[in-house]
Symmetry: C2
Subunit: 283 residues, 2 copies
Amino acid sequence: MTGSVPVVRTVSGLRAAVKAWRAAGESVALVPTMGALHEGHLTLVRLAKEKCARVVVSIFVNPAQFAPHEDFDRYPRDEAGDLAKLADIGCDLVWGPDRGEMYPEGFATRIVPGGAAEGLESDFRPHFFGGVATVCCKLFTQVLPDIAVFGEKDYQQLCVVRRLVRDLDLPLEIVGAPTVREADGLAMSSRNAYLTPEQRRIAPTLHKAIANAAAAVSSGAAPEAAAMEARGQILAAGFDKVDYVEVRDAGTLAPATTGTGRPLRVLAAACLGKTRLIDNIAA
Amino acid sequence: MTGSVPVVRTVSGLRAAVKAWRAAGESVALVPTMGALHEGHLTLVRLAKEKCARVVVSIFVNPAQFAPHEDFDRYPRDEAGDLAKLADIGCDLVWGPDRGEMYPEGFATRIVPGGAAEGLESDFRPHFFGGVATVCCKLFTQVLPDIAVFGEKDYQQLCVVRRLVRDLDLPLEIVGAPTVREADGLAMSSRNAYLTPEQRRIAPTLHKAIANAAAAVSSGAAPEAAAMEARGQILAAGFDKVDYVEVRDAGTLAPATTGTGRPLRVLAAACLGKTRLIDNIAA
């Protein structure tokens, strides 16, 4: 049994709380989420707690990173459940602004990330990383944390956010945390809640296929051949569509060139019905 | 006779200096400039010194806000002269990064301001406010000042920067300072150095024409009629081209609607040969 966790709804309330911690000399971590928290998120919070005295978790579902046809309206929301989980693991503060506090009337600024933001997810969700970069920049300047923790599950997002922080000289460090998986290998994701039992049975193939591709590339297979093999495995298992399987430079996300000794990453996105899953793994 | 002013060339050096001031409880002001300092800039620095214990002046000539055909290469530069002036008026630190420190290899992030950034200057310099917003965001996160002081001479820029700071929750206040003018009314500008003696004689008409328009609008004239009259006066005086004379809402820069009681602003841009001058005034 633990108590409750305080929730702030305004930037001024947030800053007052952080200011009090700073006055006491305490370090501050931010874990940006869109709520609907699962064990993957809680792992990020635990990592944040190891690194800083205070942990803020944001649970804002950011409309700017959804296209009109995407699942903003049906995206899972369970604030009461989220708050109970966060209280249990000792989160210090929940940042839960409404849409008007985050994007007030007259809001007119977009951040357009290039580099690692190009291709992969952007080929299928062209609006996505602009929305992510804009809200992350805002979250960082609202909280001004020492670190922010992001999951490697959204690996391209992690690369984009690292670039954003470097390019805009935002005064924090980005910490990436390994993907948390179900026992059968499926990466934890709020969107897994959309899966039917039959789709849930098929879903772990995404992980298996990219793990096979990573092993093949590590053993000297050509990246494109390994990626094509993985695409076939994913479709054969019953996925309805493969958006991409790609082997990329793990830092810049540029197309992989073998023999350079630079770390590589296999990234994939595929659909089961209307549910789109992504995953990635080191090669 | 005064001593010299310290110049820092790296973000880490800048942050170390600011951190020492913060540890001593001192407030910090930033005055962003592109060097080539004249009395207008020095007025901004004096205002900054009245408001904060410490003043940083940046003198980075930002390539991102010049188009390829514009005057980046011939933009006036006189760092030794700038440093002497800044030492004389008690500037605490000059922030003078080189291009590689400001835009390191792989730089891939653009800020796209909307709202007040639309129209006026953007119709003639479409790249301009994106470059301004990106570098200002960087300057603000590099220095993290309490305030930043901008001249009203670049009035649309002032509106864009205010919106940028609000939209991205940048933790500082923007202070606008009145335009400093020569005895004949010409707004001080680094680009006045380009004018021939004959052009310099004609130049003050820009101010006179918009002052006439502002007086007419204040007396009940229709904004569009007053603006058209001003365009005629500017051309009649010998300007080669009028880019615009517009009466706008002083806060949002939306087209003026009379009878609302909201403050208005007359803004203009016009060319003498290759030299483009801008000016504005409250109506």
